[in-house]
């Protein structure tokens, strides 16, 4: 879908991106992570030409991006940023309709699309479409921002730290929603963040950047189990890499088909990390697991979590 071929970029003689090669496949949710000044935002902005690269080629849908008109390119790519940037003088509905209007969609189709997107982000259209941005909470604004970015049915969604300014509860909710929207729509998403937990939660692949170069591009599991160097290991959090590894796997994958035990229960899709935390808190060696409907499906044993190398995908194999 998008290919960086030997891309370099400098600001006033300072190299911010250097000799970068990266292929982003259709349907990927690629997370770009790195310390401040690593060039990750520049990488994102080069895709929709908010920044132009100095050397190399960037291909979009097989064609060099300089061959597209800037406007056409941007209309095919949704763009959402941390500070949202909703138009304060327009209603929610009109904000979302920005790109469809530029694409010349009919009034009915736009109305339909606005309703569909508000539903997708669990905002009641009746209540929210006529509101102005300042009448929304931070989390609602960001939802509208992402909905607006998706409105023109773009091929690619570019997101620059979209959840960085939100409180932890809202952030977790929106991360979950983005994951759901990605699964439903199958869109190619490129997301920039500096939050490693967000990267591990959302990314189908993670690119770790430092000083304008890619240090490692790999699946979350591989980054945790086979960090390319000390920087990657540090970034993954040396001391809790094991816990992060557990966060990649759901409790259901280790469920034993046994009769229910006495005591507490957890949803099937809870991550092993949360399950460990829960079991430590409640001093349990086993916990019941429930499916989405709330029915008992099996038992999770603490012992299995710490001795299941055979059942877990071997380190390095992408999942």
């Amino acid at each position: 879908m998008i290919e960086f071929q030997n891309i370099s970029k400098s600001y006033a003689g300072l190299r911010v991106v250097e000799g970068l090669n990266l292929h982003i496949a259709r349907g990927e949710l690629l997370v770009v992570i790195g310390p401040s000044g690593s060039g990750k935002s520049t990488l994102l902005k080069m895709i929709n030409r908010l920044e132009d690269h100095d050397a190399g080629r960037i291909l979009f849908a097989g064609e060099e991006i300089y061959k597209f008109k800037v406007r056409d390119l941007r209309l095919r790519m949704g763009y959402a940023i941390q500070s949202v940037g909703l138009f304060p003088h327009w209603t929610v509905a009109r904000n979302i309709a920005t790109v469809p209007q530029m694409l010349g969609w009919s009034r009915e189709r736009i109305k339909e699309r606005v309703k569909e997107l508000l539903d997708l982000f669990q905002l009641d259209p009746e209540v929210y479409q006529a509101r102005y941005p300042h009448q929304l909470s931070g989390g609602q604004q960001q939802r509208v921002g992402v909905a607006r970015a998706l409105a023109g049915d773009p091929d690619v969604l570019l997101m620059d730290e979209p959840f960085g300014a939100l409180d932890p509860v809202t952030r977790a909710l929106l991360q979950f929603e983005l994951k759901r929207v990605h699964a439903l729509s199958g869109k190619t998403i490129v997301l920039v963040t500096h939050d490693i937990d967000e990267a591990l939660l959302l990314g189908t692949r993670i690119v770790l950047m430092d000083e304008g170069k890619i240090v490692q591009a790999a699946s979350p599991l591989e980054l945790l189990t086979r960090p390319a160097n000390d920087l990657v290991a540090d970034f993954m959090g040396r001391s809790d890499r094991g816990l992060k590894l557990l966060s990649l796997q759901s409790a259901g994958t280790l469920a034993r088909a046994e009769p229910a035990v006495m005591g507490e229960a957890l949803p099937f899709e809870t991550s092993l990390r949360e399950a460990v935390s829960f079991m430590a808190l409640h001093q349990l060696a086993q916990v019941n697991l429930l499916n989405a409907a709330g029915d008992f499906t099996g038992v999770l044993h603490a012992a299995d979590i710490f001795a299941t190398q055979a059942q877990r995908p071997a380190p390095g194999v992408t999942t």
Partner: protein
């Protein structure tokens, strides 16, 4: 009245924090006072002869006050239209990528327009364009330029960076950016600059009488040269009230234009 209609009215009232009846608005009363003064002044001889017993003719009668008020307003309107048009276009021009190099140049030229006293501009303009309304128009238009340019630039620069970035990222063209995003968001601040410019010009237009333009300054100038304080008072009262009425009208307009309301 249906509940929906009364709800809407309540909302409108809340939005503009204005009573609905015209006679409850200060603008109405100020305008009425101005009209009453114009009608009353020609008949005010008893009052002014009591106040200034030494004066032979205590009420200005060379031209009707209504005519002076009209000519004064017309001069301010014409000069302000020029200031606003030129100032706004210049302000938009120097905030575009292509015009940015000219920003400091335009700003200093416009500031100079404000530093030169209007009387000096009048004196310089008369030998070139002669006596009458034209030199007054030139002096006023130059004098009113600075607040408009400054407000235009400030209002456009106050458009939040994230709004610009997301607009650009979504593919808005330069024209769409200006017309759909920058202008609507800049309007309230821009209007406050226009308001300043017009109010300044209402006061300054009085001086235009020195070069033969008939304005509300005429009684003031004649009064000053003939030691007739009553004339000065009559002209000054009308100029002052006209400025108050205009300012209140702008305040109303500002409430209507404010998207944050």
């Amino acid at each position: 009245m249906t509940p929906a209609a009364s709800g809407e009215r309540a909302l409108g009232r809340d939005r503009h924090s204005r009573p609905g009846r015209f006679w409850q608005s200060p603008l109405f009363w100020a305008a009425a006072a101005l009209a009453a003064l114009v009608v009353y002044l020609p008949h005010s001889a008893p009052l002014f002869s009591t106040l200034f017993p030494a004066l032979e003719r205590p009420v200005y009668e060379q031209e009707p006050f209504a005519q002076l008020l009209w000519q004064h307003s017309a001069l301010v309107l014409a000069s302000s239209l020029i200031s606003v048009l030129v100032g706004t276009l210049a302000g938009i021009g120097i905030t575009r990528a292509a015009g940015r190099p000219f920003k400091s140049l335009v700003e200093s030229v416009v500031s100079m327009g404000q530093t030169i006293p209007p009387v000096a501009v009048l004196a310089l303009a008369v030998p070139v364009v002669g006596f009458g309304e034209l030199p007054a128009l030139i002096a006023l238009a130059l004098y009113g330029l600075l607040p408009v340019v400054q407000a235009t630039v400030a209002s456009l620069q106050a458009v939040p960076q994230p709004v610009r970035e997301s607009a650009r990222g979504m593919g808005l063209s330069d024209w769409q950016m200006l017309s759909q995003v920058e202008v609507p968001l800049a309007l309230p601040v821009w209007l406050s600059g226009v308001r300043t410019s017009v109010i300044i010009n209402i006061g300054t237009a009085a001086i235009a009488s020195t070069v033969g333009a008939k304005t509300l300054g005429s009684p003031i100038i004649v009064g000053l040269s003939g030691f007739n304080t009553a004339y000065v008072l009559q002209g000054a009262l009308l100029v002052g009230l006209l400025a108050v009425v205009t300012d209140m009208a702008f305040e109303r307009l500002a409430l209507k234009l404010n998207w944050q309301a």
